[in-house]
Symmetry: C2
Subunit: 360 residues, 2 copies
DNA sequence: CTGAAAGCGCTTACAG
DNA sequence: CTGAAAGCGCTTACAG
């Protein structure tokens, strides 16, 4: 999805009043060329000059005219973005954020769609988009996780920013929520409802959330003085179909958990479906919570409690960062992570544990 | 104007030999300005001249440089697009197609997001985007249906193209599938599976598909020699929540239908959920089919049979049409409709009627 | 480290 | 109906 504010486009062209590079140059007391050099880092500029220019730019609120840049033959900044072909909710938000950023900053977006998500395919796609001219890459968490070896070893030739990556990856930039804290918060919410046996559907190792979301779950149990029962933790791919299979592991047992926290909404939804198949009532017999607050959460019955991450915002920030890294010449700044706030959304799929079931 | 003029000859920067308006002008034996006038319909041009120019354009496969156009102050073509805030699957596809078209043809996309879909809000949004400068509008079917009065009466000041509108609207252009035929095909498929009591969840009147999809359903029954039982037709909003309510009307009766065909996937999914709640098995006790083949269809259990329309393609074509209409000066061509092919996708939510239930 | 000048490919007054 | 010229706001050789 694109901008929530509604406008994908720029306002109608205002010619006369526009502030040009000439204006900036005059105010800063330099030539237009020097302004250009400062802005594009294209040639070394004396520090005092650079500061004067930047001050003028800021004071005048100057924005370069993209058409003129393009016509004059400037190298366009190209941002490569890998997208999954399936993950509809996530990718439309990611795409929206990325488009916002690229169109605001005058960069070009190059997307690659991936069908499977094998290591080789992801690596090939990343390399392909770099060869095709991308100056920086934005990798949604899953792909960053899959390529973590390559990323750590600097095998990708351009700056990489991971969006919603679920955990730190040394050697790249990232914008994400604190997955550990988010999982802790949701687990704590379930415990607060009276649940003592809380199952956890854990992502596979290739997802970095494998570690962080599980850690949050474990910490919440520990703080509540509950033992972590390893048989209540089921590792599974995060697709709906895999969730169907994983549901058996939770439900085919006499000492079923009273609540299950799944690492995404697709699998949570699958667990609800299988619970219904067995004649269990949700949330009366079983509470279920997911992660992502995808559109699916409101298109199932009962509606799903979930953890929301502001994906569009994360993608926008990641893309903005990728653009500035791509435009940098000279030394690159140190890698860092920006943490964005998450939200816990409780709906009808979770409820206080029925009286009789509460363990004393 | 040949290159002997010295200045031109020793141009410091010769980029790739892109074909410019100069080239076209030379080949056509006219000035660049005349080429520009022909291409933009900006001034009257003699027919012979126009033809010579167009031939050169075609022969050289000339495409105008958008950056130069913009810089030179050409009026940008702005296409307004109204989008629903909820309908995630549909809008991401619509948006994708619209972005494809606008970026390929150098137009600018202006989107407006609608929360509710009241007549007044939709009309206000359409007017707003026109006031903001849109030269043509692309309206997803629902909105075109809501505004049909205004559209028929020519109350919108710019050309309007409806995408997936579900039925003809006099006075505007449209790109859509044949909803009647699509509903006919799906109903016929259900009948072919042995079903004799096929329920139909019908859209509200404000959706134009209210008429066409119902007509296709009715025709299929008629051709199969089946009576249309009005009590098996339930009219409902197309949201998941409304589908939950509508499901009762189908299922709270002794002579339940053996199959239900819902006018979209959200409501079909709600019917499946309510069937499960009642302990009915899908498809063993009840077959369910939807319309749209949205991502939801693969994220429910069992997977949903549905009618697929190529939304991205439809949106792209609609946007292309809107762009050419916006760029036209002088008389506008007659309204027309382009019909795009649909696909029937059968999955596990539908199955041959169990032996015992087939009426002789 | 800094600047004057040419030019990117188009369109828009302005003249015929 | 058609064209010569100026100029949109940048960047890129080239020259200090």
């Amino acid at each position: 999805m694109l901008s929530e504010t509604g406008d994908l486009a720029k306002s109608p062209r205002r010619k006369s009043q526009a502030i040009t590079i000439e204006t900036v140059a005059r105010v800063a007391g330099v030539s237009a060329m020097t302004v250009s050099n400062v802005l594009n880092n294209s040639k070394p500029v004396r520090e005092a000059t650079r500061e004067a220019v930047m001050r003028a730019v800021r004071d005048l609120n100057y924005t370069p005219n993209l058409a003129a840049k393009a016509l004059a033959g400037a190298d366009t900044t190209r941002i490569g973005l890998l997208l999954s072909r399936d993950d509809f909710s996530f990718i439309s938000s990611v795409l929206g954020g990325a488009v916002e950023a690229t169109s605001a900053l005058g960069a070009q977006l190059m997307t690659r769609r991936l069908g499977h998500q094998s290591h080789d395919e992801v690596l090939a796609a990343a390399q392909d988009v770099v060869v095709a001219g991308a100056n920086a890459l934005v990798l949604p968490g899953l792909y960053a996780g899959i390529l973590q070896e390559e990323l750590r070893n600097g095998l990708i030739d351009v700056p990489v920013v991971a969006a919603s990556v679920g955990d730190e990856i040394e050697g790249i930039w990232s914008i994400r929520i604190d997955d550990e804290a988010a999982a802790y918060d949701m687990t704590t919410s379930l415990i607060a409802l009276g649940h003592r046996r809380v199952g956890f559907l854990r992502a596979e190792e290739k997802h970095l959330v494998h570690k962080t979301r599980f850690a949050g779950y474990a910490r919440a149990l520990a703080e509540a003085g509950l033992a972590l029962d390893p048989s209540l933790v089921v590792t599974s791919p995060l697709s709906f179909d895999s969730g169907i299979a994983a549901a058996d592991a939770f439900l085919d047992r006499t000492d079923r958990p009273t609540a299950i926290f799944a690492s995404n909404d697709d699998t949570a939804s699958a667990i609800v479906a299988m619970a219904h198949k067995r004649g269990l009532r949700v949330p009366d017999d079983l509470s279920v919570a997911g992660f992502d607050d995808s559109p699916l959460a409101l298109r199932m019955w009962p509606r799903l409690s979930s953890v929301r991450q502001p994906v569009t915002e994360i993608a926008r920030k990641a893309t903005e960062l990728a653009i500035s890294l791509a435009r940098l010449s000279g030394e690159t700044p140190a890698h860092r992570t920006d943490i964005i706030d998450h939200t816990i959304v409780m709906r009808e799929s979770t409820a206080p544990l029925a009286e009789g079931l509460v363990c004393a």
